[in-house]
């Protein structure tokens, strides 16, 4: 069963302008989710980050970042049926919204602009 829980108002330009600012960790989390076009379950995001970014990720920090990203309209999630391994608890599947992708674009444009000409110096 798939239950669509609240989807924030992601298309308003106002929201985008106001909330596109991403923190460094949020940026990484957003990229980790983006790697899965069909969405990714919460428990996999942590391991994905640890594997690819090569850093230990506190689950507390992860979930609060997910929560913040959702609030900024960059992520949304749906609930899926629970399985025995999870003690019957339903997993959430996260996907990146259009706002989230726009935020990544803005961020990367800024990083690319700043990197131009200096990439070789570090």
């Amino acid at each position: 069963m798939v239950v669509d829980v609240w989807i924030p108002d992601t298309d308003s330009r106002e929201t985008m302008a106001r909330e596109r600012v991403l923190g460094e960790f949020e940026h990484l989390v957003l990229l980790a989710v983006l790697r899965h076009p069909a969405g990714v379950i919460g428990s996999h995001i942590g391991r994905e980050l640890e594997a690819r970014a090569g850093r230990r990720v506190s689950r507390g920090a992860l979930y609060s970042a997910l929560d913040r990203l959702e609030a900024k309209g960059c992520l949304r999630w749906t609930v899926e049926a629970g399985v025995p391994e999870r003690g019957g608890h339903p997993p959430r599947r996260f996907v990146v919204t259009r706002t989230g992708r726009a935020a990544l674009r803005v961020y990367h444009r800024a990083v690319n602009n700043l990197l131009a000409g200096v990439a070789g110096r570090f």
């Binding site: 919460g42 507390g60 979930y63 929560d67 913040r68 999870r86 997993p91």
Partner: protein, 900 residues
């Protein structure tokens, strides 16, 4: 799942709550733990511990913080703050519930409205009178400077001009110190002749008070001299009422006491109070030659920064010592200051304005506070009884997953909504009742014009509402949401069994109510007893059928003593001719008015040693027939009569108190007294005592009678005939016609204003009106408390009987006597009451001492009042329990079985 830290997980589950986000999070950790445990169980456990702790730590912050939304309370349609949303839902639910039970809601909110209304009314008076600052700039720096002479038994009397000017020149504790004297002047050129309130002040009076003129200026020092042209500042009220707010009023002449006076300024409106001065005039005292030893002037000062009132008084003490050496050179004066233990007194202005009503007002506020508590107890009882019926509903809600906190919140919200309803009603009642309350208290409470329902009052009402909701809502909320109570559903109980714990709760409330009611009853009983004592006080005169009024003879029209005596003679003749008048006289100061002047006297044969203090004796000047008119007993000798001046002997009459003090056990007739003391440069002539009269209460009912000397009005020609006279006329019938009296006065002098026309009965009532007001208010509060307490007991017993119907039915069916059943109900009521009475007695024991300052010839622990009120309350309680008892005895065994 083996190996996972179970306690930690349970804790985490609790922190995350039952929402979908929390549960998915829990699931994520479970899943990952399972994966990790497959490789290394111990590392997995370490990981789980660390991450669970991290999540828990973050969970709290996230829920309230960054994202602004809780993991638990995702609300699909929520707008705004979810907390507000929840609250709003609770309020809506509460309103719905209360509307379904209109009888409960109406009774409870009216009960609360009574309590809140009483508190709000009295608090608005306390707020306006005691708490609001005076209108002056920096009012907390303003002080009055008084005198104290404990050696003579004088407490707080005014200042003398010579001492004032000595202070003014040498003091270091005030920024400004001004002198003033209230008085009355005849205003004659604006229509009907009138007497208006005036105040004579030094020029720095206005700067001291921080007054800025609306128009014009205050007077200058050189205008405050005996020979200066006459100027006046008029009050704002005078300007608007009498001069129609004319902007061209400066420089205009008005006639005060017959003297043309120029208006030079208009004072601001905030200076106007009830009965405050309408005109301000200079003292016309020469600062270099001020009257000596004439302690009839007030002084107001503005404290220097960092100086307290007490420090200011201490700072004036050395000046008094210097004054004794440098100025008060006459033996009498120095003896007065030294032996009289003269000390300056400095009081904050506001203390002097409200000091006398502070205690009664706080007592009243405490009293109505208790009434509110009793009302709350009643509502709490209603809540408890009602909650019994709602047990099932609460249990169902709990079973469906409502947490205890949400149930408590729900019940409390209902209490709060009810409290708001009661408070709104109460404030409305108070707003309507306040004018009536204020009319009850005319002239006895200062600053009543400041009393209104303002922000502070509404704030107190809201606080009262919230507190009362807590008082009557919290107990039921907690009691009916605990685990055992919610088990009711499981046990298949109907709720409403007579559970001992609940009965204890209800009984406790009744005990509290009874205790509070007893305290209030004892308090008002003590006041009633005081009032009876006060009314039984020997007045020393007969107030019935005596009409009084006051005239002031202006200098301009009556320059000489002979003119005044002539006026008095003609007026008394004219008054005696008014139909229905039996006798007429005049006096300088009416009884119960305080303010009979006192001065040094010498009694023949009791010489005063040099440097000793002569006796200070108070005196009045009376026309013939004063004692007859006032019904004061002539005990020995004779009254004054018109021929007294002819034999060249001066005559006085003394009262019993004076004779007992100075000639104990001797015949006072023929004894001689004189003004001043021996050794004075020019001794006054002796006066012979020709009469002894009964002692009238001069200073008020509550103060002991004062020794008095009466001088004959006819004999004052040589030493200043008084110009301010009160006339007294005794009627034959029920009352003397005021109109006849007015016509008589105007037949003698058509331009003579008449003031203070009152009967002596009114004066007697007026002298105790503050006491009557306190007694009446406390009495109403006690009556309310008694009624509410009786209703509370009745309600609880009725309810208990209703719950026990079945049990009583069984007993009756088994052959119990109805009278025994009845007795058991009455006894249980009596038991509850007895506990309440015991606590109430203890409370009254501790609290009645606060009434000491108000009571009159009544002990705060008066056993008769304590016993009487306890008995009265007990009887009321028995009556209240009789009705439920009779219902219990009338239970039909058959019916009671059917009720199940």
């Amino acid at each position: 799942m083996p190996g996972r830290p179970g306690i930690l997980r349970a804790l985490l589950a609790r922190v995350l709550g039952p929402g979908v986000v929390g549960r998915s999070l829990l699931g994520d950790l479970d899943e990952e733990f399972a994966d990790r445990a497959a490789a290394d169980p111990r590392a997995a456990r370490r990981w789980y511990r660390r991450e669970a702790a991290g999540v828990m730590w973050r969970a709290r912050r996230i829920r309230t913080g960054d994202a602004g939304r809780s993991w638990r309370t995702h609300q699909p349609k929520g707008k705004g703050d979810p907390m507000l949303q929840v609250l709003w839902n609770d309020v809506k639910g509460a309103v719905r519930t209360l509307r379904k039970e209109p009888r409960f809601t109406i009774v409870a909110s009216i009960t609360l409205a009574l309590g809140v209304g009483a508190v709000v009314s009295i608090f608005s008076v306390v707020n306006g009178v005691l708490l609001k600052p005076l209108p002056h700039p920096n009012p907390d720096r303003l002080v009055n400077v008084w005198s104290n002479a404990t050696g003579l038994g004088y407490n707080q009397f005014p200042l003398s001009p010579d001492l004032y000017y000595f202070y003014a020149r040498h003091q270091q504790v005030f920024d400004e110190l001004a002198m003033f004297q209230r008085g009355r002047v005849n205003l004659t050129d604006t229509g009907t002749p009138e007497v208006i309130a005036s105040v004579a002040t030094t020029a720095n009076y206005f700067p001291t008070l921080g007054v800025r003129m609306v128009m014009g200026r205050g007077y200058r020092d050189e205008e405050d001299r005996p020979d200066a042209p006459r100027v006046a500042v008029v009050s704002h009220r005078f300007w608007t009422n009498r001069l129609a707010g004319d902007s061209a009023v400066l420089g205009r002449q008005i006639r005060l006491d017959g003297q043309p006076t120029e208006i030079i300024g208009v004072a601001p409106a905030w200076l106007d109070e009830d009965d405050s001065a309408e005109v301000f005039v200079p003292t016309r005292i020469d600062p270099d030659q001020p009257p000596a030893g004439s302690f009839g002037w007030n002084a107001v000062g503005r404290l220097r920064d960092g100086v307290s009132a007490g420090e200011a008084a201490a700072g004036l003490v050395p000046l008094v010592d210097r004054f004794k050496e440098e100025v008060a050179v006459s033996g009498n004066y120095r003896a007065f200051l030294t032996k009289g233990e003269y000390r300056p007194v400095v009081n904050l202005l506001k203390e002097d304005v409200v000091g006398s009503v502070r205690e009664p007002l706080w007592i009243l506020l405490g009293t109505v506070g208790m009434v509110l508590l009793i009302a709350c107890a009643n509502v709490a009882n209603l809540f408890l009884v009602r909650a019994d019926g709602r047990q099932r509903e609460l249990a169902v809600r709990s079973a469906l997953g409502a947490s205890r906190s949400s149930l408590v919140r729900r019940v409390l919200t209902e209490a709060l909504v009810l409290a708001s309803l009661g408070t709104t009603l109460g404030v409305a009642v108070s707003a309507a009742a306040l004018p009536a309350l204020l009319r009850l208290a005319p002239g006895i409470i200062p600053r009543l014009d400041q009393v209104s329902i303002d922000v502070a009052v509404v704030f107190v009402a809201v606080v009262a509402a919230v507190l009362s909701a807590m008082v009557f809502g919290l107990a039921p909320a907690l009691r009916y949401t605990n685990a055992s109570a919610l088990g009711a559903l499981r046990h298949g109980g109907r709720g409403g069994t007579d559970d001992p714990a609940r009965r204890r709760g209800r009984n406790l409330l009744v005990v509290g109510q009874t205790a509070l009611a007893l305290i209030l009853l004892v308090g008002s009983g003590l006041l009633v007893r005081s009032f009876a004592n006060l009314m039984a006080t020997e007045l020393g005169f007969e107030p019935d059928r005596v009409l009084t009024f006051r005239v002031a003879l202006p200098d301009a029209a009556y320059p000489e003593s002979a003119d005044i005596l002539g006026f008095d003679e003609r007026l008394r003749t004219a008054l005696a001719a008014v139909p229905g008048v039996a006798s007429v006289s005049a006096v300088t100061v009416l009884p119960l008015a305080a303010g009979a002047p006192g001065t040094a006297h010498e009694f023949e044969g009791q010489p005063i040693a040099a440097g000793q203090l002569p006796p200070m004796v108070h005196f009045k000047t009376v026309a013939p027939a004063y004692f007859e008119t006032m019904g004061i007993a002539l005990l020995q000798g004779r009254d004054f009569h018109a021929g007294d001046t002819r034999d060249g002997v001066r005559h006085v009459i003394v009262n019993r108190a004076l004779a007992d003090l100075y000639w104990p056990g001797e015949n006072p007739l023929g004894r001689r007294v004189r003004l001043g003391a021996s050794g004075a440069p020019q001794p006054m002539p002796w006066s012979t005592v020709v009469g002894l009269v009964g002692t009238e209460r001069q200073d008020g009912l509550r103060l002991p009678p004062r020794p008095l000397i009466y001088y004959g009005f006819n004999e004052t020609a040589n030493n200043g005939t008084p110009r301010q006279l009160s006339y007294v006329a005794k009627g034959l019938g029920p009352s003397v016609s005021g109109e006849g009296v007015r016509q008589a006065v105007w037949s003698v002098d058509a331009s003579m204003p008449i003031t203070s026309m009152q009967t002596m009965d009114e004066i007697v009532d007026g002298s105790v009106v503050q006491f009557t007001f306190t007694m009446l208010t406390l009495g109403i509060a006690a009556g309310l408390a008694l009624a509410l307490g009786a209703i509370g007991l009745y309600g609880v017993l009725s309810y208990t009987v209703a719950l026990r119907t079945r049990e009583i039915g069984v007993r009756l069916a088994l052959g119990a006597q109805p009278s025994r059943v009845m007795r058991s109900v009455v006894l249980s009521g009596a038991a509850i009451t007895a506990v309440g009475l015991a606590i109430g007695l203890a409370g009254a024991f501790g609290l009645t001492r606060f009434l000491t300052g108000i009571l009159y010839e009544t002990e705060p622990l008066d056993p008769a009042t304590f016993a009487g009120m306890t008995l009265a309350l007990f009887v009321v309680a028995l009556v209240a329990s009789l009705l439920p008892a009779r219902r219990a005895a009338a239970v039909s065994p058959l019916e009671s079985m059917r009720t199940e």
